[in-house]
Symmetry: C2
Subunit: 204 residues, 2 copies
DNA sequence: GGCGTAAGCGGACTTTACCCCGTTTAACTG
DNA sequence: CAGTTAAACGGGGTAAAGTCCGCTTACGCC
Protein backbone atom coordinates (compact mmCIF):
# COMPACT_ATOMS: atom_id res chain seq x y z
CA UNK A 1 0.00 0.00 0.00
CA UNK A 2 1.33 3.39 -0.93
CA UNK A 3 1.53 5.97 1.78
CA UNK A 4 -1.27 8.50 1.47
CA UNK A 5 0.81 11.58 1.02
CA UNK A 6 1.11 12.92 4.51
CA UNK A 7 4.64 13.98 3.72
CA UNK A 8 3.85 17.64 3.80
CA UNK A 9 7.33 18.98 3.50
CA UNK A 10 7.01 17.11 0.26
CA UNK A 11 9.12 17.18 -2.88
CA UNK A 12 6.36 18.11 -5.28
CA UNK A 13 3.02 19.80 -4.88
CA UNK A 14 -0.08 17.85 -5.79
CA UNK A 15 -1.07 17.71 -9.40
CA UNK A 16 -4.13 19.79 -10.26
CA UNK A 17 -6.42 16.92 -11.20
CA UNK A 18 -5.39 15.04 -8.11
CA UNK A 19 -6.27 17.96 -5.88
CA UNK A 20 -9.59 18.35 -7.60
CA UNK A 21 -10.37 14.69 -7.14
CA UNK A 22 -9.45 14.76 -3.46
CA UNK A 23 -11.83 17.64 -2.91
CA UNK A 24 -14.53 15.87 -4.81
CA UNK A 25 -13.99 12.63 -2.92
CA UNK A 26 -14.15 14.32 0.45
CA UNK A 27 -17.33 16.12 -0.51
CA UNK A 28 -18.90 12.93 -1.81
CA UNK A 29 -17.85 11.07 1.32
CA UNK A 30 -19.52 13.72 3.46
CA UNK A 31 -22.73 13.32 1.52
CA UNK A 32 -22.72 9.56 1.78
CA UNK A 33 -21.91 9.69 5.45
CA UNK A 34 -24.87 11.94 6.15
CA UNK A 35 -27.15 9.99 3.89
CA UNK A 36 -26.23 6.39 4.52
CA UNK A 37 -24.24 6.27 7.75
CA UNK A 38 -20.67 5.14 8.09
CA UNK A 39 -21.22 1.44 7.52
CA UNK A 40 -22.54 1.87 4.03
CA UNK A 41 -19.75 4.20 3.08
CA UNK A 42 -17.66 1.63 1.25
CA UNK A 43 -14.72 2.24 -0.99
CA UNK A 44 -16.48 0.76 -3.99
CA UNK A 45 -19.57 2.83 -3.42
CA UNK A 46 -17.56 5.98 -2.92
CA UNK A 47 -15.64 5.33 -6.12
CA UNK A 48 -18.76 4.68 -8.12
CA UNK A 49 -20.74 7.60 -6.75
CA UNK A 50 -17.92 10.01 -7.31
CA UNK A 51 -17.45 8.66 -10.82
CA UNK A 52 -13.82 7.76 -10.20
CA UNK A 53 -11.92 4.51 -10.15
CA UNK A 54 -11.24 2.49 -7.07
CA UNK A 55 -7.54 2.79 -7.53
CA UNK A 56 -7.87 6.53 -7.30
CA UNK A 57 -9.71 6.40 -4.03
CA UNK A 58 -7.06 4.20 -2.51
CA UNK A 59 -4.17 6.23 -3.78
CA UNK A 60 -5.65 9.35 -2.19
CA UNK A 61 -6.53 7.91 1.19
CA UNK A 62 -4.50 4.76 1.44
CA UNK A 63 -7.05 2.94 3.47
CA UNK A 64 -10.65 3.04 4.49
CA UNK A 65 -9.84 4.62 7.81
CA UNK A 66 -7.87 7.18 5.87
CA UNK A 67 -11.06 8.68 4.54
CA UNK A 68 -12.48 9.22 7.97
CA UNK A 69 -9.14 10.55 9.06
CA UNK A 70 -9.24 13.08 6.26
CA UNK A 71 -12.77 14.06 7.17
CA UNK A 72 -11.75 14.53 10.77
CA UNK A 73 -8.64 16.52 9.92
CA UNK A 74 -10.76 18.79 7.85
CA UNK A 75 -12.83 19.71 10.87
CA UNK A 76 -9.85 19.71 13.17
CA UNK A 77 -8.18 22.48 11.29
CA UNK A 78 -10.69 25.00 12.58
CA UNK A 79 -10.43 23.60 16.06
CA UNK A 80 -6.67 23.86 16.02
CA UNK A 81 -6.96 27.47 14.94
CA UNK A 82 -8.95 28.28 18.07
CA UNK A 83 -6.37 26.56 20.19
CA UNK A 84 -3.42 28.38 18.72
CA UNK A 85 -4.76 31.87 18.21
CA UNK A 86 -8.17 32.04 19.85
CA UNK A 87 -9.29 33.94 22.96
CA UNK A 88 -8.46 32.74 26.47
CA UNK A 89 -8.74 30.41 28.23
CA UNK A 90 -8.12 28.28 25.16
CA UNK A 91 -5.74 30.51 23.27
CA UNK A 92 -2.47 31.91 24.50
CA UNK A 93 -2.43 34.73 27.09
CA UNK A 94 -4.12 32.51 29.65
CA UNK A 95 -2.02 30.69 32.26
CA UNK A 96 -0.89 27.28 30.98
CA UNK A 97 -2.78 25.24 33.55
CA UNK A 98 -6.03 26.89 32.61
CA UNK A 99 -5.27 26.35 28.98
CA UNK A 100 -4.65 22.69 29.63
CA UNK A 101 -8.00 22.31 31.33
CA UNK A 102 -9.75 24.29 28.63
CA UNK A 103 -8.05 22.30 25.91
CA UNK A 104 -9.31 18.99 27.22
CA UNK A 105 -12.80 20.31 27.56
CA UNK A 106 -12.77 21.72 24.07
CA UNK A 107 -11.48 18.47 22.67
CA UNK A 108 -14.16 16.51 24.42
CA UNK A 109 -16.75 18.77 22.90
CA UNK A 110 -15.17 18.52 19.48
CA UNK A 111 -15.04 14.75 19.45
CA UNK A 112 -18.54 14.41 20.80
CA UNK A 113 -19.73 16.58 17.96
CA UNK A 114 -17.96 14.37 15.46
CA UNK A 115 -18.79 11.08 17.09
CA UNK A 116 -19.68 9.20 13.98
CA UNK A 117 -16.55 10.09 12.12
CA UNK A 118 -14.26 9.67 15.09
CA UNK A 119 -15.66 6.24 15.68
CA UNK A 120 -15.16 5.13 12.13
CA UNK A 121 -11.67 6.57 12.01
CA UNK A 122 -10.60 3.99 14.55
CA UNK A 123 -8.85 1.26 12.66
CA UNK A 124 -6.86 -1.56 14.07
CA UNK A 125 -4.68 -2.38 11.10
CA UNK A 126 -1.04 -1.36 11.04
CA UNK A 127 -0.83 2.03 9.37
CA UNK A 128 -1.95 4.49 12.02
CA UNK A 129 -1.58 4.67 15.77
CA UNK A 130 -4.81 3.28 17.08
CA UNK A 131 -4.89 4.30 20.70
CA UNK A 132 -4.13 7.95 20.82
CA UNK A 133 -5.46 9.47 17.69
CA UNK A 134 -4.11 12.83 17.16
CA UNK A 135 -0.45 13.71 17.29
CA UNK A 136 -1.64 17.31 17.36
CA UNK A 137 -3.33 16.75 20.65
CA UNK A 138 -0.26 15.19 22.13
CA UNK A 139 1.97 17.96 20.86
CA UNK A 140 -0.19 20.67 22.29
CA UNK A 141 -0.44 19.04 25.69
CA UNK A 142 3.29 18.46 25.69
CA UNK A 143 3.87 22.13 24.98
CA UNK A 144 1.63 23.30 27.79
CA UNK A 145 3.23 20.90 30.25
CA UNK A 146 6.55 22.47 29.44
CA UNK A 147 5.23 25.78 30.71
CA UNK A 148 4.14 24.40 34.06
CA UNK A 149 6.57 23.70 36.85
CA UNK A 150 6.22 20.01 37.59
CA UNK A 151 9.50 19.19 39.23
CA UNK A 152 11.38 16.24 37.82
CA UNK A 153 9.22 14.34 35.37
CA UNK A 154 9.33 12.75 31.95
CA UNK A 155 7.20 15.31 30.20
CA UNK A 156 7.02 13.41 26.93
CA UNK A 157 5.54 10.35 28.51
CA UNK A 158 3.33 12.37 30.81
CA UNK A 159 1.92 14.09 27.76
CA UNK A 160 1.17 10.75 26.16
CA UNK A 161 -0.48 9.55 29.31
CA UNK A 162 -2.66 12.61 29.58
CA UNK A 163 -3.62 12.42 25.93
CA UNK A 164 -4.66 8.85 26.48
CA UNK A 165 -6.52 9.73 29.64
CA UNK A 166 -8.39 12.30 27.63
CA UNK A 167 -9.19 10.14 24.64
CA UNK A 168 -9.65 6.82 26.43
CA UNK A 169 -12.95 7.50 28.10
CA UNK A 170 -14.23 9.02 24.88
CA UNK A 171 -13.29 6.00 22.85
CA UNK A 172 -14.88 3.81 25.43
CA UNK A 173 -18.05 5.81 25.18
CA UNK A 174 -17.99 5.99 21.41
CA UNK A 175 -17.56 2.28 20.98
CA UNK A 176 -20.02 1.31 23.66
CA UNK A 177 -22.87 -0.61 22.13
CA UNK A 178 -25.50 0.64 24.53
CA UNK A 179 -25.40 4.24 25.59
CA UNK A 180 -26.64 4.38 29.11
CA UNK A 181 -26.91 8.11 29.50
CA UNK A 182 -27.38 11.29 27.61
CA UNK A 183 -24.46 12.61 25.59
CA UNK A 184 -24.74 16.00 27.26
CA UNK A 185 -24.49 14.56 30.72
CA UNK A 186 -21.55 12.41 29.76
CA UNK A 187 -19.79 15.30 28.13
CA UNK A 188 -20.14 17.24 31.34
CA UNK A 189 -18.77 14.39 33.42
CA UNK A 190 -15.81 14.05 31.14
CA UNK A 191 -15.05 17.74 31.31
CA UNK A 192 -15.23 17.71 35.07
CA UNK A 193 -13.09 14.69 35.56
CA UNK A 194 -10.50 15.96 33.10
CA UNK A 195 -10.27 19.13 35.10
CA UNK A 196 -9.93 17.10 38.26
CA UNK A 197 -7.23 14.91 36.82
CA UNK A 198 -5.17 17.77 35.51
CA UNK A 199 -5.42 19.65 38.79
CA UNK A 200 -4.29 16.58 40.67
CA UNK A 201 -1.37 15.94 38.41
CA UNK A 202 -0.18 19.52 38.28
CA UNK A 203 -0.61 20.73 41.84
CA UNK A 204 2.72 21.56 43.44
CA UNK B 1 -22.56 -11.96 14.19
CA UNK B 2 -23.35 -13.96 17.29
CA UNK B 3 -21.76 -12.86 20.49
CA UNK B 4 -18.85 -15.11 21.39
CA UNK B 5 -20.16 -16.40 24.67
CA UNK B 6 -18.65 -14.06 27.18
CA UNK B 7 -21.86 -14.25 29.17
CA UNK B 8 -20.26 -15.94 32.14
CA UNK B 9 -23.20 -16.10 34.42
CA UNK B 10 -24.51 -18.08 31.51
CA UNK B 11 -27.70 -20.10 31.16
CA UNK B 12 -26.04 -23.29 29.99
CA UNK B 13 -22.55 -24.64 30.21
CA UNK B 14 -20.71 -25.24 26.97
CA UNK B 15 -21.38 -28.43 25.13
CA UNK B 16 -18.58 -30.96 25.33
CA UNK B 17 -17.65 -30.98 21.67
CA UNK B 18 -17.70 -27.21 21.61
CA UNK B 19 -15.30 -27.00 24.51
CA UNK B 20 -13.01 -29.53 22.91
CA UNK B 21 -13.00 -27.62 19.66
CA UNK B 22 -12.28 -24.32 21.38
CA UNK B 23 -9.26 -25.87 23.05
CA UNK B 24 -8.11 -27.33 19.80
CA UNK B 25 -8.57 -24.07 17.94
CA UNK B 26 -6.64 -22.08 20.50
CA UNK B 27 -3.80 -24.58 20.40
CA UNK B 28 -3.71 -24.55 16.60
CA UNK B 29 -3.83 -20.76 16.58
CA UNK B 30 -0.82 -20.67 18.91
CA UNK B 31 1.11 -22.94 16.56
CA UNK B 32 0.28 -20.91 13.52
CA UNK B 33 1.10 -17.69 15.26
CA UNK B 34 4.55 -18.93 16.20
CA UNK B 35 5.14 -20.48 12.83
CA UNK B 36 3.70 -17.98 10.39
CA UNK B 37 3.26 -14.72 12.26
CA UNK B 38 -0.02 -12.95 12.87
CA UNK B 39 -0.67 -11.80 9.32
CA UNK B 40 -0.83 -15.27 7.88
CA UNK B 41 -3.10 -16.47 10.61
CA UNK B 42 -6.32 -16.23 8.64
CA UNK B 43 -9.68 -17.63 9.58
CA UNK B 44 -9.75 -19.96 6.59
CA UNK B 45 -6.29 -21.26 7.26
CA UNK B 46 -7.06 -21.82 10.91
CA UNK B 47 -10.22 -23.69 10.01
CA UNK B 48 -8.48 -25.88 7.49
CA UNK B 49 -5.47 -26.65 9.62
CA UNK B 50 -7.59 -27.55 12.60
CA UNK B 51 -9.79 -29.71 10.41
CA UNK B 52 -12.93 -27.78 11.32
CA UNK B 53 -15.36 -25.67 9.36
CA UNK B 54 -15.11 -21.91 9.00
CA UNK B 55 -18.49 -21.52 10.58
CA UNK B 56 -17.24 -23.21 13.70
CA UNK B 57 -14.30 -20.89 14.03
CA UNK B 58 -16.52 -17.87 13.78
CA UNK B 59 -19.11 -19.15 16.20
CA UNK B 60 -16.40 -19.71 18.79
CA UNK B 61 -14.59 -16.42 18.47
CA UNK B 62 -17.04 -14.14 16.76
CA UNK B 63 -14.43 -12.22 14.90
CA UNK B 64 -10.83 -12.35 13.86
CA UNK B 65 -9.79 -10.14 16.71
CA UNK B 66 -11.68 -12.50 18.96
CA UNK B 67 -9.06 -15.16 18.43
CA UNK B 68 -6.27 -12.93 19.55
CA UNK B 69 -8.43 -11.79 22.41
CA UNK B 70 -8.89 -15.40 23.46
CA UNK B 71 -5.18 -16.03 23.21
CA UNK B 72 -4.52 -12.99 25.34
CA UNK B 73 -7.14 -13.91 27.92
CA UNK B 74 -5.59 -17.30 28.19
CA UNK B 75 -2.32 -15.76 29.28
CA UNK B 76 -4.09 -13.13 31.31
CA UNK B 77 -5.67 -15.70 33.56
CA UNK B 78 -2.33 -16.51 35.15
CA UNK B 79 -1.54 -12.84 35.41
CA UNK B 80 -4.83 -12.13 37.10
CA UNK B 81 -4.15 -14.91 39.56
CA UNK B 82 -0.97 -13.17 40.64
CA UNK B 83 -2.85 -9.95 41.06
CA UNK B 84 -5.61 -11.41 43.16
CA UNK B 85 -3.76 -13.90 45.31
CA UNK B 86 -0.05 -13.43 44.74
CA UNK B 87 2.61 -12.03 47.06
CA UNK B 88 2.95 -8.31 47.74
CA UNK B 89 3.34 -5.75 46.40
CA UNK B 90 1.06 -7.08 43.69
CA UNK B 91 -1.25 -9.24 45.76
CA UNK B 92 -3.34 -8.15 48.71
CA UNK B 93 -1.69 -7.42 52.04
CA UNK B 94 0.28 -4.56 50.54
CA UNK B 95 -1.01 -1.01 50.88
CA UNK B 96 -3.32 -0.10 48.01
CA UNK B 97 -1.14 2.64 46.59
CA UNK B 98 1.79 0.26 46.28
CA UNK B 99 -0.45 -2.30 44.70
CA UNK B 100 -1.63 0.23 42.18
CA UNK B 101 1.92 1.05 41.18
CA UNK B 102 2.88 -2.59 41.06
CA UNK B 103 -0.18 -3.46 39.05
CA UNK B 104 0.65 -1.01 36.31
CA UNK B 105 4.22 -2.17 36.13
CA UNK B 106 3.18 -5.80 35.96
CA UNK B 107 0.70 -5.04 33.23
CA UNK B 108 3.29 -3.20 31.21
CA UNK B 109 5.57 -6.20 31.48
CA UNK B 110 2.78 -8.57 30.57
CA UNK B 111 1.73 -6.70 27.47
CA UNK B 112 5.30 -6.20 26.33
CA UNK B 113 5.83 -9.93 26.57
CA UNK B 114 2.77 -10.55 24.45
CA UNK B 115 3.36 -7.76 21.99
CA UNK B 116 2.50 -9.67 18.88
CA UNK B 117 -0.81 -10.91 20.18
CA UNK B 118 -1.74 -7.66 21.82
CA UNK B 119 -1.06 -5.84 18.62
CA UNK B 120 -3.17 -8.16 16.55
CA UNK B 121 -5.96 -8.05 19.10
CA UNK B 122 -6.44 -4.40 18.30
CA UNK B 123 -9.35 -4.18 15.94
CA UNK B 124 -11.10 -1.08 14.81
CA UNK B 125 -14.45 -2.61 14.01
CA UNK B 126 -17.32 -2.31 16.43
CA UNK B 127 -16.89 -5.10 18.98
CA UNK B 128 -14.24 -3.95 21.40
CA UNK B 129 -13.25 -0.59 22.78
CA UNK B 130 -9.97 0.30 21.19
CA UNK B 131 -8.69 2.54 23.93
CA UNK B 132 -9.15 0.59 27.11
CA UNK B 133 -8.71 -3.04 26.36
CA UNK B 134 -9.37 -5.02 29.39
CA UNK B 135 -12.36 -4.52 31.64
CA UNK B 136 -10.41 -6.57 34.16
CA UNK B 137 -7.77 -3.92 34.26
CA UNK B 138 -10.28 -1.19 34.78
CA UNK B 139 -12.10 -3.12 37.47
CA UNK B 140 -8.97 -3.79 39.42
CA UNK B 141 -7.82 -0.20 39.29
CA UNK B 142 -11.25 0.96 40.30
CA UNK B 143 -11.17 -1.36 43.28
CA UNK B 144 -7.79 -0.12 44.46
CA UNK B 145 -8.81 3.50 44.07
CA UNK B 146 -11.71 2.80 46.37
CA UNK B 147 -9.24 1.89 49.10
CA UNK B 148 -7.29 5.11 48.82
CA UNK B 149 -8.48 8.34 50.32
CA UNK B 150 -8.75 10.74 47.41
CA UNK B 151 -11.18 13.29 48.70
CA UNK B 152 -14.11 14.08 46.44
CA UNK B 153 -13.64 12.50 43.04
CA UNK B 154 -15.49 10.51 40.43
CA UNK B 155 -13.70 7.24 41.02
CA UNK B 156 -15.28 5.46 38.09
CA UNK B 157 -14.08 7.97 35.57
CA UNK B 158 -10.73 8.32 37.26
CA UNK B 159 -10.28 4.58 36.95
CA UNK B 160 -11.06 4.78 33.24
CA UNK B 161 -8.61 7.61 32.84
CA UNK B 162 -5.86 5.76 34.60
CA UNK B 163 -6.50 2.60 32.63
CA UNK B 164 -6.22 4.61 29.47
CA UNK B 165 -3.10 6.35 30.68
CA UNK B 166 -1.61 2.93 31.28
CA UNK B 167 -2.61 1.36 27.99
CA UNK B 168 -2.31 4.39 25.76
CA UNK B 169 1.45 4.64 25.62
CA UNK B 170 1.67 0.90 25.13
CA UNK B 171 -0.73 0.97 22.23
CA UNK B 172 1.17 3.83 20.75
CA UNK B 173 4.35 1.85 21.02
CA UNK B 174 2.83 -1.36 19.75
CA UNK B 175 1.33 0.23 16.71
CA UNK B 176 4.33 2.37 15.88
CA UNK B 177 5.76 1.39 12.53
CA UNK B 178 9.33 2.14 13.43
CA UNK B 179 10.59 1.27 16.86
CA UNK B 180 13.11 3.86 17.83
CA UNK B 181 14.44 2.27 20.97
CA UNK B 182 14.91 -1.00 22.73
CA UNK B 183 11.87 -2.66 24.25
CA UNK B 184 13.63 -3.05 27.58
CA UNK B 185 14.41 0.60 27.83
CA UNK B 186 10.90 1.57 26.88
CA UNK B 187 9.42 -0.84 29.37
CA UNK B 188 11.47 0.78 32.09
CA UNK B 189 10.39 4.26 31.08
CA UNK B 190 6.78 3.22 31.11
CA UNK B 191 7.07 1.68 34.53
CA UNK B 192 8.71 4.78 35.90
CA UNK B 193 6.27 7.20 34.46
CA UNK B 194 3.32 5.12 35.59
CA UNK B 195 4.67 5.25 39.10
CA UNK B 196 5.14 8.97 38.79
CA UNK B 197 1.63 9.52 37.47
CA UNK B 198 -0.03 7.45 40.17
CA UNK B 199 1.95 9.17 42.92
CA UNK B 200 0.96 12.55 41.56
CA UNK B 201 -2.68 11.69 41.32
CA UNK B 202 -2.94 10.04 44.71
CA UNK B 203 -0.87 12.28 46.94
CA UNK B 204 -2.96 13.98 49.60
C1' DG C 1 3.13 24.39 -29.97
C1' DG C 2 5.50 19.67 -29.75
C1' DC C 3 7.79 16.32 -26.37
C1' DG C 4 9.24 13.43 -22.47
C1' DT C 5 8.19 11.83 -18.26
C1' DA C 6 6.40 11.04 -13.97
C1' DA C 7 2.17 11.33 -11.67
C1' DG C 8 -2.36 9.98 -11.90
C1' DC C 9 -6.13 6.97 -13.43
C1' DG C 10 -9.26 2.91 -13.88
C1' DG C 11 -11.14 -1.30 -13.11
C1' DA C 12 -10.35 -6.27 -13.23
C1' DC C 13 -8.37 -9.39 -9.85
C1' DT C 14 -7.22 -11.43 -5.40
C1' DT C 15 -7.79 -12.18 -0.67
C1' DT C 16 -10.26 -12.47 3.48
C1' DA C 17 -13.57 -11.61 6.98
C1' DC C 18 -17.95 -12.77 7.88
C1' DC C 19 -23.00 -14.83 6.80
C1' DC C 20 -26.42 -18.43 5.97
C1' DC C 21 -28.81 -22.42 6.38
C1' DG C 22 -29.43 -27.37 5.76
C1' DT C 23 -27.51 -31.21 8.40
C1' DT C 24 -25.63 -33.54 12.47
C1' DT C 25 -25.22 -34.56 17.31
C1' DA C 26 -24.76 -33.93 22.45
C1' DA C 27 -27.47 -34.08 26.23
C1' DC C 28 -31.62 -34.44 28.69
C1' DT C 29 -36.31 -36.81 29.51
C1' DG C 30 -39.38 -40.70 30.25
C1' DC D 1 -33.24 -47.16 24.84
C1' DA D 2 -36.16 -44.10 21.78
C1' DG D 3 -37.47 -39.33 21.22
C1' DT D 4 -36.86 -34.41 21.31
C1' DT D 5 -34.64 -30.21 20.97
C1' DA D 6 -31.46 -26.75 20.96
C1' DA D 7 -26.80 -26.19 20.18
C1' DA D 8 -22.94 -27.06 17.13
C1' DC D 9 -21.14 -28.13 12.64
C1' DG D 10 -19.69 -27.46 7.64
C1' DG D 11 -18.51 -25.24 3.83
C1' DG D 12 -20.20 -22.72 -0.11
C1' DG D 13 -21.55 -17.79 -0.84
C1' DT D 14 -21.08 -12.68 -0.47
C1' DA D 15 -19.18 -8.29 -0.09
C1' DA D 16 -15.71 -5.24 0.69
C1' DA D 17 -10.66 -3.99 1.24
C1' DG D 18 -6.62 -3.60 -0.95
C1' DT D 19 -3.28 -4.68 -5.23
C1' DC D 20 -1.58 -4.54 -10.03
C1' DC D 21 -0.42 -2.86 -14.23
C1' DG D 22 -1.22 -1.00 -18.75
C1' DC D 23 -3.21 3.37 -20.36
C1' DT D 24 -3.86 8.46 -19.98
C1' DT D 25 -2.75 13.15 -18.89
C1' DA D 26 -0.83 17.33 -16.52
C1' DC D 27 3.02 20.05 -16.62
C1' DG D 28 7.82 21.66 -17.10
C1' DC D 29 11.04 22.40 -20.94
C1' DC D 30 12.60 23.62 -25.35
Amino acid sequence: MKQPDVSWGAPRPERADAARNRQHLIATAREMLAELGPDRLTMDALAERSGLGKGTVFRRFGTRAGIFGALLDDGERAFQEQVLCGPPPLGPSAPPLDRLVAYGQARVRFLMEHQVIARAALDGRQPIPAGSQSPLSHTHIRMLLGQIDLGPADLDLLAIQLTAALDGPLLLYLSAATLTQSPQRFEQQLSDSWQDLVRRVCRP
